[in-house]
């Protein structure tokens, strides 16, 4: 197992980091978060079109870069670090793998090259708090009819393509691609996380053509869960990146802030708390890369690892964000300083795609009752 980065991986990360340091500054993030509903269109254009973000995990056969989970993790870490207001996670970590895993060859040839080229912002119509398929599909004469509601869809407001897993009467699942103006009812949802927009979606007898269906002949819940693993890994990567970004800005603040004639950073109690956060981050990040490597090869305990990763990533982001506000003192409680944006993301992401209590319960079931130990 090789968890150190290759030269290519390092340069990918550095390039992304450079772009985001330049273009996703605090001021840009605030502009997008406070005035543009959490979406920075020009940043997206740069990232998707110029830098080719969206090609990352599209197979080479479909004009993508054919890279794996490690590169996905690096990319989303960087997005998290700067709280980049772009639908990278929805598009690259959730949407694209769904099509790659579940789509037919025809659908893939049709969609993936365009996705790789950065032509779509994708939202996936699964309830974000605990992915379960709630939309119903029925075959019609010339295609399908979709019914149902999904109340919490991440990155829906900026999406140009909506992927809809839906259930047929016989229990099988299908995957549909719909344009937002295809007769969907889109409601607005405001959450405390100002850097990721959400929307509500309603299908009331929405008729779509036969070619809206992306899969060949249906798939199981289990296959859907497998296809969502990169999304869960990517969310953790985003959390870990955000924790790093938040720790960085905290370290910078306390190195400058003087109280009692000393920088706050010179107080040992503060130093030890920062050091402990470094260890937590190292722990979570190591598991991220380990799980990414295992996701690439489909290792046997990958689901447990991704559950564990979810726990560690949510914990470390929470811890760092909490400490960031505390260590900023008075100004940490003001809108003008950035810690609260991370803090908001910490609480919001902690309950996306399930909760840590659920993750721990699943791991326990395996460790205690299952084969693993």
């Amino acid at each position: 197992m090789d968890l150190n980065f290759s030269e290519d991986q390092r340069s990918l990360r550095d390039e992304v980091r450079r772009l985001l340091n330049d273009q996703a500054s605090s001021a840009a993030m605030r502009e997008a978060a406070e005035k543009n509903g959490g979406f920075d269109a020009s940043l997206w254009d740069m990232a998707a079109a110029e830098l080719g973000f969206c090609a990352t995990n599209v197979p080479e056969a479909f004009d993508g870069l054919g890279l794996g989970a490690m590169e996905l993790a690096l990319l989303l870490e960087e997005c998290g670090r700067r709280l980049a207001c772009i639908p990278a996670w929805s598009t690259i970590a959730v949407g694209t793998p769904l099509i790659v895993s579940l789509g037919s060859e025809g659908a893939k040839s049709r969609l993936l090259p365009e996705i790789a080229a950065g032509s779509y912002r994708i939202a996936v119509a699964l309830p974000i708090d605990n992915p379960q398929v709630a939309v119903r599909a029925q075959q019609s004469a010339d295609g399908y009819v979709l019914d149902g509601a999904v109340s919490l869809v991440a990155d829906l407001p900026s999406a140009t393509l909506v992927l809809v897993p839906a259930r047929f009467e016989d229990g099988k699942l299908g995957l549909f691609a719909v344009a937002p103006d295809d007769g969907l009812k889109i409601g607005s949802v405001q959450t405390i996380d100002l850097t990721r927009p959400f929307g509500a979606l309603k299908f009331e007898g929405v008729r779509v053509g036969a070619d809206a269906r992306l899969d060949d002949a249906g798939f199981s819940e289990e296959a859907l869960a497998q296809a969502l693993l990169p999304g869960r890994l990517g969310l953790a990567a985003e959390q870990i990146g955000a924790a790093q970004g938040c720790l960085d800005l905290t370290l910078e603040y306390i190195s400058g802030r003087v109280q009692f004639g000393r920088t706050i950073a010179s107080f040992q109690a503060i130093k030890h708390r920062c050091a402990a956060m470094v260890v937590d981050l190292a722990e979570a990040r190591s598991l991220l890369y380990g799980a990414a490597a295992n996701l690439n090869i489909g290792a046997s305990e990958i689901e447990m690892e991704i559950d564990a990763l979810g726990v560690l990533a949510a914990d470390v982001l929470w811890k760092v964000a909490e400490e960031s506000i505390q260590l900023h003192g008075g100004v940490g409680n003001t809108w003008e300083y950035d810690p609260h944006f991370y803090f908001r993301k910490a609480q919001a992401t902690a309950f996306m795609m399930g909760s840590s209590d659920e993750r721990l319960a699943r791991i326990a079931a395996q460790v205690i009752d299952g084969a693993a130990a």
Partner: protein, 394 residues
């Protein structure tokens, strides 16, 4: 026994008064104006202060010679509890009643008492506090706001900036800790001034908090004036007076505060029951632990108010602020975790919005009035006699 009976009688009396008066147009004030919601309905709350004053419920712990009830500690506790239980709104008169009045009673001239106490007692004049500065947060000895004596008028002319003055935009007066001796450092050379807020040379800017509200302000002084008779104590006494005043902060209101905590916990439990979080064993354990901590907090407060003076009791008292503020901050998180992603969505469900605001606002509990870090320093150094942190030279 009869003391207990009369306390119970007193409790009924307070409850009855609240039931009778926090009604009609005042009903709208119930549960409003507390932390995170501090700037709600200011006009009506001004009137409410006068309603309280008419019932002689402002400043109930001040001595009778100032026209007040002179309640015992136990009675004040009962008052605070019943006030909170009835949903009494956040008190605009809090700073005047809890801080300025006791300070003047302890250090003020007869003239100052005559000038200021009635306005506070009658709910007519409201006060803001001017301690913290951008570079003097935890380190109050680093006060930079300057007060210079104007030899012509005898006024003190004040220049500088105060931050975290709660509700300055709704107040009439502010007390200000300033440096009156050029070149002095630390606790020396400070003056404690009383200043009208509505005067040229004072500008008030709201501070937007992380939850979105703005109940605190920055107050900028640029040649603002305090007249000579508005100095409390002597020039140079400022530190002593400020420290005494700070000690009033951990006062009786804390038991009313705990009633608020109890209600918050009850709301969380209620939501957990409704949304199924109460089935989650981890949530159950956290709710139980919160209950335990709150119960302990109650007894800590009672012991603290009873004023035992042994070293152990002093230590306990030093730990009280750290305890309640961290407990409350954790409760803020627990409320959110009970709601799950549902709690993250902004909607107009009153209880959920209350818990969301608490989540944000409790972050400041461990900062204002002495950060966690300062509290732990004080406990270690003053309470345990451990070596002091050296001051730097910067």
């Amino acid at each position: 026994m009869s003391a207990v009976q009369s306390l119970e009688e007193f409790r009924r009396q307070v409850a009855a008064w609240m039931a009778e008066h926090l009604t009609g147009r005042f009903a709208e004030l119930k549960h409003r104006g507390h932390a995170g919601d501090g700037d709600a309905l200011p006009d009506l709350r001004r009137e409410w202060e006068q309603e309280l004053a008419a019932g002689r419920w402002t400043c109930p712990g001040w001595p009778q010679e100032y026209g007040c009830r002179g309640l015992s500690v136990a009675e004040q506790v009962v008052f605070q509890e019943e006030y909170a239980r009835a949903g009494g709104p956040g008190r605009l008169g809090h700073i005047g009643e809890g801080l300025v009045g006791p300070t003047l009673i302890a250090f003020g001239t007869e003239e100052q008492k005559k000038r200021f106490l009635p306005g506070i007692r009658e709910g007519r004049e409201f006060w803001a506090q001017g301690y913290s500065e951008p570079d003097a947060g935890s380190d109050l000895g680093n006060i930079k706001t300057r007060a210079r004596l104007d030899p012509e008028t005898g006024d003190w002319i004040v220049t500088g900036q105060k931050v975290w003055t709660s509700l300055a935009h709704l107040s009439d007066w502010i007390f200000v800790l300033a440096r009156c001796e050029e070149g002095s450092v630390g606790p020396k050379g400070l003056i404690f001034l009383l200043m009208p807020l509505k005067q040229p040379g004072i500008e008030i800017h709201p501070i937007r908090q992380i939850g979105g509200g703005a109940e605190f302000n920055s107050v900028f002084f640029d040649g603002a004036r305090a007249s000579a008779d508005c100095v409390v104590g002597q020039p140079g006494d400022g530190w002593k007076i400020a420290m005494t005043l700070l000690s009033f902060e951990r006062g009786i209101s804390t038991l009313g505060q705990q009633l608020g905590f109890t209600q918050e916990l009850a709301t969380i439990v209620e939501i957990a029951r409704e949304n199924g979080a109460a089935q989650n064993p981890a949530i159950r354990a956290r709710l139980a632990r919160a209950w335990a901590g709150l119960r302990a907090m109650r007894y800590m407060a009672i012991r603290s108010l009873e004023g035992g003076t042994s070293a152990e009791e002093e230590l306990e008292r030093l730990g009280y602020k750290y305890h309640w503020s961290n407990w409350h901050r954790d409760l803020g998180k627990l409320g959110m975790d009970v709601m799950g992603f549902d709690g993250v969505i902004i909607n107009d469900d009153h209880r959920r919005e209350q818990l969301r605001q608490m989540f944000f606002f409790t972050r400041s509990d461990t900062v204002y009035g002495g950060t966690n870090e300062i509290q732990l320093n004080i406990i270690a150094e003053r309470g345990l006699g451990m070596p002091k942190e050296p001051r730097g030279k910067a």
